[in-house]
């Protein structure tokens, strides 16, 4: 029996449910190329802003037993150059691309949406939840149901593409935020962004390891949090979820699917298992399907929803 990882996300057929998330390898068109060659089914750009940003000074990453802290600081070449990289990739590939965009107000999000409308991009992701620019921009928009609702509502009115809302795990009640996004017309949710933020200290120099002091947490240690939040959200909304957070192997990916995710982001694991990680996880999912006699990805059962 031929197993297949082919599935559908927001009406587009994809060859693998694995997604290169925003902020990982997404600076250059060639970063998309190599991720796709290694088995990613969807790729996401760096979160693009109206003007280019050099990001925070280093160190911007710090590793520890369970994962990573990062505080890249939304470095990106700006929406025009970022879209040019996406379009260069799309010239030679039909793999879907998510353009991730970041702004702090509706007006800028609308401006960014107009740029994305003119590109070869397939989906628009609104990054409402970068945890690493607090000093500059304050509490992420994803902390407010009202902000999330208003921005998505406005963007949906002009976006030619399906809109994905990227949510922060660092809120009191992610389910109400997710519901606000859904009711405003979001086509899908992307969750979770990095956790925390957290910090690490160099004990010899008595300094925070990250120059930004604090950074978002990713890697295996956040998987249980991601699963819980995705499961709670899946139980409460009817739009698909792009699930991510600490997925390193096929077993993790299956857990994400069972928790309610439709497709799965793989980011930090690119460090742990190389850029080949997408094909490795694809194969591990196929092995799981073989063992359990699931023919298609959608045959893998989901957990029974909460409260019913």
């Amino acid at each position: 029996m031929q197993k297949s990882l082919k599935t559908e996300f927001l009406g587009i057929t994809i060859t693998s449910p694995l997604v290169l998330p925003a902020g990982v390898m997404g600076m250059a068109f060639s970063g998309f190329n190599i991720s796709v060659e290694n088995g990613a089914g969807i790729v996401t750009s760096k979160s693009l802003t109206l003007k280019s940003r050099t990001g925070h000074k280093g160190p911007v990453v710090a590793e520890f037993e369970g994962g990573f802290l990062n505080c890249m600081g939304l470095c990106n070449p700006g929406i025009v150059d970022g879209i040019a990289e996406i379009d260069q990739f799309k010239k030679r590939s039909n793999i879907p691309v998510i353009a991730s965009v970041f702004a702090t107000n509706t007006k800028d999000f609308l401006e960014l949406t107009k740029h994305v409308n003119k590109s070869q991009t397939d989906f628009l992701e609104l990054n409402l939840s970068c945890p690493n620019v607090f000093d500059e921009f304050g509490i992420p928009l994803a902390a407010s149901t009202e902000e999330v609702h208003n921005i998505i509502m406005a963007v949906k009115q002009i976006s030619k593409l399906p809109v994905i809302a990227k949510l922060s795990p660092n809120v009191y009640d992610i389910v109400s935020i997710a519901k606000a996004a859904e009711s405003a017309g979001a086509d899908a949710l992307c969750m979770i962004n990095t956790v925390g933020p957290g910090m690490l200290i160099d004990t010899k120099m008595i300094k925070p390891v990250l120059f930004n002091k604090f950074g978002g947490l990713s890697g295996p240690c956040i998987k249980p949090i991601a699963l819980k939040l995705i499961y709670q959200t899946y139980s409460a909304v009817n739009i698909p979820i792009l699930g991510m957070g600490g997925v390193t192997n096929g077993e993790d990916a299956i857990e994400m699917l069972m928790a309610g995710a439709s497709v799965i982001g793989v980011g930090t694991a690119v460090h742990y298992r190389g850029i080949e990680v997408f094909n490795k996880i694809n194969n591990e999912i196929l092995e799981f399907m073989e063992e359990n006699e699931y023919k298609n990805l959608k045959d893998i059962p989901k957990l029974e929803k909460l409260n019913g």
Binding site: F32, N33, M72, F211, G267
Partner: protein
Amino acid sequence: MDKRTTLKIAKIVDETRDIRTFTFKHDLDAKPGQFIMLTDFEGGEKPFSVSDCTNEEFSITVKRIGEFTTRLFQKCVGDFVSIRGAYGSSFFVSKNKVLLVGGGYAVPTFYFFVKVLLKAGADVTLINGARTKDEHVFAERFRELNIRVINTTDDGSFGEKGTSVDVTQKIMSQNKFDFLYASGPEMMMKNLQYVIGDIDYEFLFERYMKCAIGICGNCTMDPLGLRLCVEGPVLPKEKVELLTEFGKYHRDASGKRIKF
């Protein structure tokens, strides 16, 4: 897992007015061509090629070019800095007759490499070039290694007059080599490509690095998507020949393409 370690500067040697070697007592276990990330936690973490490495200590040789390196030049023996690595690819160690072509502050990484090549039994010729005498480094150290060295400066203020590329062309017309290595400014390596015929080679590249562990994508090279911090900084001929950005553009800290 985390390879970060915080070390005291054990030794500082002035090479030129703007080039300085910092030595640390630490078993880095690096291979020639690899680099470390270094920070003082005061803003900035930068990649530096390893210019010497033994079981007890390693060195980096740094050119003062900006805010970060200016601050590094103010540090003294005994001051702490924090490093992680060694990272990246390393030079193939040939046992045959090899030509090394170096330019400016990218030359010192060859000091570590030549020692390894000699141990492997290679026959080494080095072209050690710089724009001018004040930027020419490691002439004395390479002399002590008893290899064939041709020192050259663009303006003739030290050694032969001419670029590393000019000298390479001349040397290669008189001698046959089995393998060529280059470490220098990108345009030097680009111009080398036109004069070295079909010899097999490896080039050491420089790009803006941030995470150094293959995630952030800032040092990705087009069109192969090579992460210079993981698949580089040393790239073999078959990959170099496919690079469309080689000698044309690189990306800055924001990812914007900057023309050479």
